[in-house]
Amino acid sequence: MGEELKVIVFALGNEEYGIEVDRVRTIERLSPITRVPKTAAFIKGVINLRGVVVPVIDLRGRFNLEETAPTEHSRIIVVAVGEVEVGFIVDSANDVIDIDTDDIDTPPEIVGGIKAKYLRGIAKLGEGRLLIMLNLAEVLNRNEIVQIEQLEV
């Protein structure tokens, strides 16, 4: 038996993804987002999270998936990695589950169009359900954003 891990499950399209609970600060409904000019396209802007200004990125855009219009199920998951605090726009967030770290396999090179380096692994949940675990440090890697910005400008 490996360690038990509490994970927040959210959806992007047909896939289910997971983030460790202790990285998640809060889950919010969509609120008005203020656009920040001259940033990468997937950076949607900033929101007011109880008096603190928090940047929001569209995870679909971040993973080069097709962006869709927000629905009433859309949520902003605010995560904190070190001193960086960022909100992710996801299609829905509705579950907290326990998984065993032993059940997490290394991901194949590309999963659902997402590069393996953004993933921590794939957890088997039984009944053929798979959960893609995100590697937050890599998703929030600033160097890459700088490169993307340079490409776009």
Binding site: S31, P32, T34, R35, V36, P37, K38, T39, I43, G45, V46, I47, N48, R50, G51, V52, V53, V54, P55, G82, E83, V84, E85, V86, L140, R142
Partner: protein, 684 residues
Amino acid sequence: MDMNAYLSMFIDESNDHLQSLNENLLQLESNPEDLSIVQSIFRSAHTLKGMSATMGFEDLAALTHEMENVLDLVRNSKLKMDSFIFDTLFKGLDALEAMVQDIIGGGTGKADVTAIVAALQSILKSDYKSGSAPSASSETSAPAGEESSASLLDQFQSSILLQSMETGHEPYYVQVTLDDNCVLKAARAYMVFDVLERTGEVVKSDPSVQDLEQEKFDRSFKVFTISTIPAASLREQIANISEIASVEVTPLDAESLASLTSAPAAAAVEAPPKPAEAEETPAAKKEAAETAKKPAAGTQAVGRTIRVDIDRLDTLMNLFSELLIDRVRLEQLASEIKRNDLTETVEHMARVSSDLQNIVLKLRMVPVDSVFNRFPRMVRDLAKSLDKKIDLVITGADTELDRTVIDEIGDPLVHLLRNSVDHGIETTAKRLEAGKPETGTINLRAYHSGNHVFIEVEEDGAGINQEKVLKTAIKNGVITEEESKKLNSNEINMLIFAPGFSTADKISDISGRGVGLDVVKTKITSLGGNVTVHSEFGKGTKFSVQLPLTLSIISAMLIKLGSEKYAIPLTSIVETGIVKRSSMLNVHGNRMIKFRNTIIPVVSLSQVLESPDYDETTEEENEMIVIRKGEKWAAVLVDEFIGQSEIVLKSLGKYLTNIHAISGATILGDGQVALIIDPNALIK
């Protein structure tokens, strides 16, 4: 956690005492006959010694003890202060400060102070040749006493207790036993210490405070304490703490003290106070009694302030701005519903919350004194090393500024003062030659004016030599010879702030590396302030620093670009107006307009910010804001003015950094985030 509570208290108080030692020593230096100053120096040193001994910082205690011995002689008029003693004491203070810094940085506060201790002891000995030898011998035996850790009390602690007895305070030996089933032993011990420290001073505990905090004790511990209240009430107060099984408070006298003190040290300690006592005049005794009473009164006054972590104030401010947003919503609802009692309640809430806002903002204000207080010492040392005579006159030290600004202005001011001492004030010989008084004066002033605080550094020195400034500026490539002819005298003076500029003929280690003044200017500009210089050749120079009252709240102009709202800091706005597109000129493909007899460039904000739904070219007339960056101006075209407002500055966080033309964000009354435009980025 307990250890931290003690440690931060110790650090704060040590810093306070070191500061007052510094100030008082400086005062004493200019006024060596004033024994009342020696008294307060002695008090500070004494408290510092007690605190550091309690916390187990032995080197700190040892050095303070030596300094205290010297001061004791001065206090009792057995020793005259001279410059050697002053220098040694100052050196001692520096060493103490270094040790406290080390403790702040998580170190143990250990330092090699043998040289200073030796110097202090030599002062003691040279005096003792003419008088009482025993005390000197006690100094030499002191280390022996320290090392014998097996004994209950060491030499300092025992001498502190003895002194407290002489001044009419009650030393006690307190034995506390905790309940068998007490879970939080360290917490209870902390509460006992809290009681003891409220009523007096803890001299020694067994096991040590550190062990107590880490629960490295069985059920009971023993404390030596000096208290202002009788034994019975002390016992009662401690017994009132829950989970205390028994308390024994035994008053101490000289005999029982001697029996508790380690043998070698006891002999040494018992000897010196007696001759000293015999020589003390009644008046001196009375003075000593007063010294001991004053700190007790002082601790009560201190109780009126508390220290608060600045992060908590920030959180308070964040939560409060949330409340403001709700207030705006409530006001809107009330005006829609139109019910009188609701409207009245909301209006009342609005008044209360605006009072509350004022208080929250004031909480962050700190007097500039906390920066100024280290300058007298600095100027003294600099002047001495340069062999100049300088008076530093400080006015307006009680002027208040936001804590965030205070933290930042220290270094720029140090630069300016060093510059004044080094380049401004002339040498004594030159001053006399110029018919000036031998001693130069530097005025350091702070005062409020509108939404700003001004800090001025003015000296009556040589003034700026404009010819020399121009020559150097041309030589160093700051300006060309052509440009130099167009400059007025103010502009020439401002050249000294240019990067890579220094007029000092030779580089001194005080200033003159040509990095000083431009760093000052950059720093102050980054704080949203401004620095100017006025100088009259031969008469003196005045640097004037203008600073915003706070960094967290600024006045700004709110504007609209289509559906988006932005804020532009008012400090860089010159004027607002309307301009017809037909009156815009085209110069080399750049649009310009005529403004106050000059031609200034036009900046399209919607293009810079890539506005999704606004394009000013579709309109015949555009709203414009004329902004300024130093001497350069530009007209920024916007969609619509919303109005002027006080906004709370927020950062965009660590994820979004270096965004072009955006310096931060703020939260508007409706809860939406508006970005703050950096006008400096709009002017090339």
